[in-house]
Structures are given as structure tokens and as C-alpha cells.
Amino acid sequence: MHIQDYRVAVFVPPGGPRGSDTLIRLVVFLSFFLIATAFDPLPSAAQTDPRSPTDRSDPLKSLVDKLNDPQRGAALRAQWNIDRAVWNEPVTAVRNGATVLVTPAHADIHTSIDSVGALWSPDGPLISAPHNPTSARVFIPRGYQNQTAPKRMVSFAPGGGYTEYTFEPRYAIRSPVLRRGYVLCVINAWSTVATPIPLGQWGTRLNEVVVFAQKMLSSGFALPAPTFDYAWGESRGARMLAYSSELSGTPFHGVIEERGGGDLVDSALQQIRLLNRSASRQSGRRTGNGRLHQQNWSPHENYLA
């Protein structure tokens, strides 16, 4: 709801403003200010202590409430393919008598650019992989919109076999990233077994879902767009980023490729070569025909289920 939706009637005596026009202007100004404060979700005062419970009027919390409202949130959910929205209160721990912030209060919103997966379920999310191949879980820390610039978003692509729902506790990144005040966007690391996504689409899909999440923040939620976007990929996630990084229009100002990246073809060819070396070893000791390995690479031998 925006301020232009409201009209303020100001009655001015015939003949123009007289001595009280300063007062009238002040009243008008205050009226606009009060309306803007009451209806614009963004300029809400930040809670000073990140360890404290969230105010009921917190705009991010209100957003999550709205998304969970069957009527009020329907349009927003449909527009951004949101199938889950959860509000998390801050997590703290007491050490040496002091309360330490572990994880700030934050919104946890799941979205997908594939409509097949974006079926709203009041009982919880539809786990994305494998039927919902391009999705992201966006964590927005409380007070993100009030931060002084720059605002940052970190997109995390976990390693193979992990999704946006299973990346924890393997990758303990949520708490530290949110403590920094950054938005965290965890994307689905598509399974090499079940995914319907061709490998060649890894990079474009990753870029698309991140851009989609950015637009959801700014256009959908009226939050500030991130000033800087980074990506962080682990293993298979790093491989995705290697492809993503070569695409024009990559949304990232920088990426971290950790223990992988740019190696997919090399690694596959290496495996092929290994089979040959292995077969030659066997020829002196065992079957001599290499069939053993052909069998071992077969799905019928339970390597693939």
C-alpha cells in the first residue's frame, strides 16, 4: 500500500493563506509523515537488539504472516511461486553470563522458477528435488531493509546430493551469513542421478533462479535489492558456478568455487582412462577382458538405484 492511495483534504480560507499557513503546512506535512509511517512497511524502526524477540509489527514478520494467509498472500505466492514461508525467531546461547547471538531472526522463504514445484501446501514444503529442479530457499535477516548500504546477497550451491533443505548441518553457513546481515539464497544442487536438468543447463538455471530471487526481494517484497551479489559453491555446486561464471549477464560480482569447478569433463575423462588402466592391470591377474568393470559401472550392479 502506498502513500498515493490516500488523499488528504486541506481547507484553505478564500483569499489564500494567511498567518496560519505555516501551521497548515506543518499539519499537512505531519499528516503525510504519519500516513507514510503507518502504511509503508519499509521505514519501520529497526529493533536495536538482534537477540530480542521480534516485534509484532516487524515488516518482515508481517510479510511472512501475509504469505501464510490463505487470502491475503495468494497473489504474492502465485506471482513468485512461493510454496513455503516461515518466520524464525533469534537463536541465542548463554556463555560466561553473556547472551550470544547465534542466528538472527529471519524469514525463510522457498521459491521456484518451475511452476510444477510451486504448489502451495499449508503443511509444509514440497521437497524440491527431483521434481522441482530449480528452486531456492531465501533467508532474509530481520532488519535487512534498514541496513546502511551496501546490501549483499550470498547464493549458496551445496555439494552433490544436498538440496536447499538438506544443506544443514553439513554446511553450517546460515548463522554466520545472517549475522552479517546478508540475504542467503540456497539453491538446489541438482542430483546427477534423478535430475531432469541437462548438465548444460546448470549455469543458466543457477543464474535464473538467483535473478528470480533478487526480483522477488525487490519487486515482490518491496525490499531493497542487493547492492552486491556473491555466490559460493561447494563441490558440485562449484561445478555449476564454473558454468554460471562464463555466461554473459552473470548476476554475481564474485564467486567462491570450493573443491570443484570447471572439472566435470576432465573428471569424466579421467574415469574413462582409469577403466583402461584398470583393465590392463586385470588382464595380467584376472579376467583379462575388462568385463568386470563394465559390470561394475552398470546400474544393475547397484551403483545406480
Binding site: A93, V94, G97, V154, G161, P169, R170, I173, R174, S175, P176, V177, T192, V193, P198, L199, G200, F228, Y230, W232, S235, A242, E246, L247, S248, G249, T250, G254, V255, I256, E258, R259, G260, G261, G262, D263, L264, V265, D266, A268, L269, Q270, Q271, I272, L274, S278, A279, R281, Q282, R285, L292, H293, Q294, N296, W297, S298, N302, Y303, L304, A305
Partner: protein, 271 residues
């Protein structure tokens, strides 16, 4: 003679996110076959990161410990980390998936037993297959800054592939767009230390991983500050950190292979 596998086993012992320490890659009791396979001359120690994965050994390839459990469509889990890492990452699945994408006809022929996977050679395949392989091969023409971290003892994704990738970027005259760090002795594990605290009830609480590489990247991208030392998890003691120097810090930014040897030799001398 150096028993490499035992040695790396000790090196790769990590504390996982649930706080339980264990060796992630190395079985406790090695068979003689396994030991024989991994036993290499001491002079080859610095070559270790380039050795093939464990299923080159016919014995281990047939060993149940190296397989995904029957009927399971998911990773075998952290209870059997060695199984899952080997079977899923260095095992055949990635390669078969790759083949399914680029050459589905050959992949189907492997499955029906009419050809052997080991005989697949992209050079002898039709042009469309070679094109598909080419499309999946990075060109090195990166469009953003990359900060790359890799362990010198990564058995899943060999450092040799990282060297090749970085070399492509260098060949495109984009060496100024990448900063990369080889962490000595590190395997295929997350590179940053997870911080914890013990609360008033004596419970260990995770604060999450250190964001050292993210900080390096942010300062580089936003302020132009060339990344300094990378503070990574110490492979020999997961409760501690070590300092890794980037290729650019050693003046080897355009020589990825030389950087690898430099770091590996430093490990050998340290050992």
C-alpha cells in the same frame, strides 16, 4: 615406501557438523590388497594428489564397502562416509551421467552390454557428441571474479583438474580475475573452520563456519583489495586453522601447475 592411504587417513580426519569426529575417507582396517594398491615409493609422495581413485583396484571395485547399499537411491550417509564419497563422487555416477548427456546412444549400449565404457573415446564419436562435450568444457572466459579453494589431497576432484581449469582462465588472459588457493593436505571437505561455543548448560552450540574466503572475495570485488592469506581448516587438526598462500601471493598466478608443485613440495618437506 610410504603408505599413503594410511597417512592421508590421519590427515583427513575431520569433525563433522554434528560434532562427531571421524575419518572421512579411510577404512580402519585395510586389506592387504588395498595396502598393496596404495603403497607407493616415497619419491612419489608429491604425486599423490594425482593418483587415480580407489576403484582402479579390482579388489576394491568389487568390495561392498565401495558401493551404494542395495536399493538405496540416496547417499549411503555419513555413517559410511568412505562408501558415499567414493561411490558418488569418484565413482561412476558422475561419469555415467556425463555420458548420458553427451552420448546417450553409447550410454545405452554400455547398459545393454554391447560396448564397454572404457572404450568410449570422444575423438571417435560423431560430431554431435563432440559438440556436446565441447559445450560442457569450460572455455576459461569468465565473466566475474572467482576465488577458488582446493585441497592438495582431494581424492574426489583431483587437483589436476583444478590446474587445468585455472590454466584455461590464464590462457584467456584473465588471470587477474581469479585468485586460487591450494590448501596443503586438505581432502574433499569444506575448507573453513566451524566455530562453536559451550553454553551455560555445557552444550556445544555451532556458530557456523568462518567466512574467511567470503571476506576475501568481498574486499576484492568491492574495494579492489587483492586477497591475502586464506585461513582454512587444518586437515591434521580440525579444531585449528592453517594459513594458505594464494598463487598470486607466491608470484605464480599465471603458472598453476608450478603453484601446485610448490605447495606439494612444501608439504613433503614439512613431513
Amino acid at each position: 615406501m610410504a603408505d599413503y592411504i594410511s597417512k592421508t587417513g590421519r590427515r583427513m580426519k575431520i569433525t563433522s557438523r554434528d560434532g562427531v569426529s571421524r575419518d572421512e575417507f579411510i577404512p580402519i582396517a585395510l586389506t592387504n590388497d588395498v595396502r598393496s594398491f596404495f603403497r607407493l615409493p616415497a619419491s612419489a609422495k608429491i604425486l599423490m594428489p594425482l593418483i587415480p581413485p580407489y576403484n582402479e583396484n579390482p579388489t576394491t571395485a568389487r568390495d561392498e564397502r565401495f558401493r551404494i547399499p542395495t536399493g538405496s537411491a540416496t547417499r549411503s550417509g555419513d555413517d559410511s562416509p568412505f562408501d558415499s564419497v567414493l561411490a558418488w563422487s569418484t565413482g561412476p555416477i558422475n561419469t555415467r551421467r556425463f555420458l548420458n548427456d553427451v552420448d546417450p546412444a553409447y550410454s545405452a549400449a554400455v547398459d545393454n552390454g554391447s560396448v564397454l565404457l572404457k572404450n568410449w573415446d570422444p575423438a571417435t564419436r560423431p560430431p554431435d557428441v563432440r559438440d556436446a562435450v565441447s559445450r560442457l568444457t569450460p572455455t576459461g572466459k569468465i565473466k566475474t571474479k572467482i576465488l577458488k579453494i582446493h585441497g592438495t589431497l582431494d581424492p574426489n576432484i583431483y587437483p589436476s583438474t583444478a590446474i587445468s581449469y585455472v590454466q584455461k582462465i590464464v590462457d584467456q588472459n584473465l588471470a587477474n580475475q581469479i585468485r586460487w588457493y591450494l590448501v596443503p593436505g586438505m581432502g574433499h571437505v569444506p575448507a573453513t573452520l566451524e566455530e562453536t561455543l559451550v553454553d551455560v548448560n555445557g552444550k556445544t552450540v555451532s556458530l557456523g563456519v568462518q567466512l574467511t574466503h567470503l571476506d576475501l572475495l568481498i574486499n576484492w570485488a568491492e574495494k579492489g583489495s587483492d586477497p591475502g592469506d586464506f585461513i582454512g581448516i587444518d586437515p591434521s587438526d580440525p579444531t585449528k586453522t592453517i594459513v594458505a598462500k594464494g598463487a598470486h601471493q607466491l608470484g605464480l598466478q599465471s603458472s598453476p601447475l608450478k603453484y601446485f608443485w610448490t605447495v606439494s613440495l612444501a608439504i613433503a618437506q614439512h613431513d
